[in-house]
């Protein structure tokens, strides 16, 4: 595994840790279909987190641990603040996955680009505006 790949994967892992933490807070403020959407997103981010952890471990690269707590900037105490956090978390992951894509080749790159697309789409589904270069 190249140095660029290790560094991109570590950055994406920290983003996925932050996303799984954030969706715990987000889900708690939502109900019904929005809560279901948050839970589905949480599940997807957990899977990506685990995939990166396995990938780093398989290459005998130390796997960073998640932080105990992440700074969300504002208090997440309502549905609107929760949804804004979801948009923010998803958007931030797009350039991190683009970095993973650029560090990889072949099928690994395709899979990273598609993961970035998933995050970008979720930002829009949560109500974020499309961006020319999401992030």
């Amino acid at each position: 595994m190249t140095e660029a790949e290790v560094s991109a994967l570590r950055a994406a892992l920290s983003g996925e840790y932050a996303a799984t933490y954030a969706y715990g807070l987000i889900g708690a403020q939502l109900t019904g279909a929005e809560q279901q959407r948050a839970l589905a997103a949480l599940d997807s981010h957990r899977q990506h987190r685990d995939t990166i952890r396995r990938e780093l471990a398989a290459a005998s690269v130390p796997v960073p641990a998640p932080a105990a707590v992440y700074d969300t900037g504002v208090r997440i105490d309502s549905a609107p603040t929760a949804i804004n956090l979801a948009i923010e978390v998803e958007r931030r992951l797009v350039p991190q996955w683009a970095d993973v894509a650029s560090a990889k080749t072949g099928s690994g790159r395709i899979s990273a680009v598609k993961t970035g697309q998933e995050c970008a789409v979720r930002a829009v589904v949560w109500g974020g505006q499309p961006q020319a270069f999401p992030g």
Binding site: V94, A98, A101, S102, A103, V113, Q117, A132
Partner: protein, 145 residues
């Protein structure tokens, strides 16, 4: 004698590496031009749709502008007056929006393929971001047509 023997494989290797990297740069240049041409098509499609349905202007202009940014990123500095023929726009507004949505979905998928072909990491990164942007467009056009 020893010097010559040691030097020749090195020269060969350098020559080989250089032509390979030239080929990679040429291939990246072609990729940039191809994607820029596809972005020009999208810009023209948005332009023609906005001309036909002025009421959609506020909604569609941000998308068109983002494609202009994509094109600029691929071929910096080139003027945004491409010689492309706009596609025929359907007569009914919902059909026109569906047609843009399909164009965006195809573009998002084509950018994934383009990204895979890119040699330079910076180009791959840009294409990954454009792929993400265009999947946002396609999703965003799905609502409220």
């Amino acid at each position: 004698m020893l010097g010559v023997a040691a030097a020749s494989p090195l020269l060969l290797a350098t020559g080989c590496g250089s032509s390979e990297s030239d080929a990679q740069a040429d291939s990246d240049e072609q990729l940039r031009e191809d994607v820029a041409a596809q972005e020009a098509q999208l810009i023209a499609a948005y332009g023609a749709t906005i001309a036909k349905f002025p009421a959609l202007s506020d909604r569609l202009k941000p998308f068109r502008d983002q494609h202009i940014e994509h094109k600029q990123r691929m071929v910096p500095g080139e003027s945004s007056t491409p010689t492309v023929t706009a596609p025929t726009i359907p007569d009914a507004q919902p059909a026109a929006l569906r047609s843009l949505r399909k164009a965006e979905r195809d573009a998002a998928s084509d950018r994934v393929t383009a990204c895979e072909k890119a040699n330079a990491a910076q180009l791959a990164r840009s294409l990954a971001l454009i792929a993400a942007s265009e999947s946002q467009h396609s999703t965003s056009l799905t609502g409220g047509s």
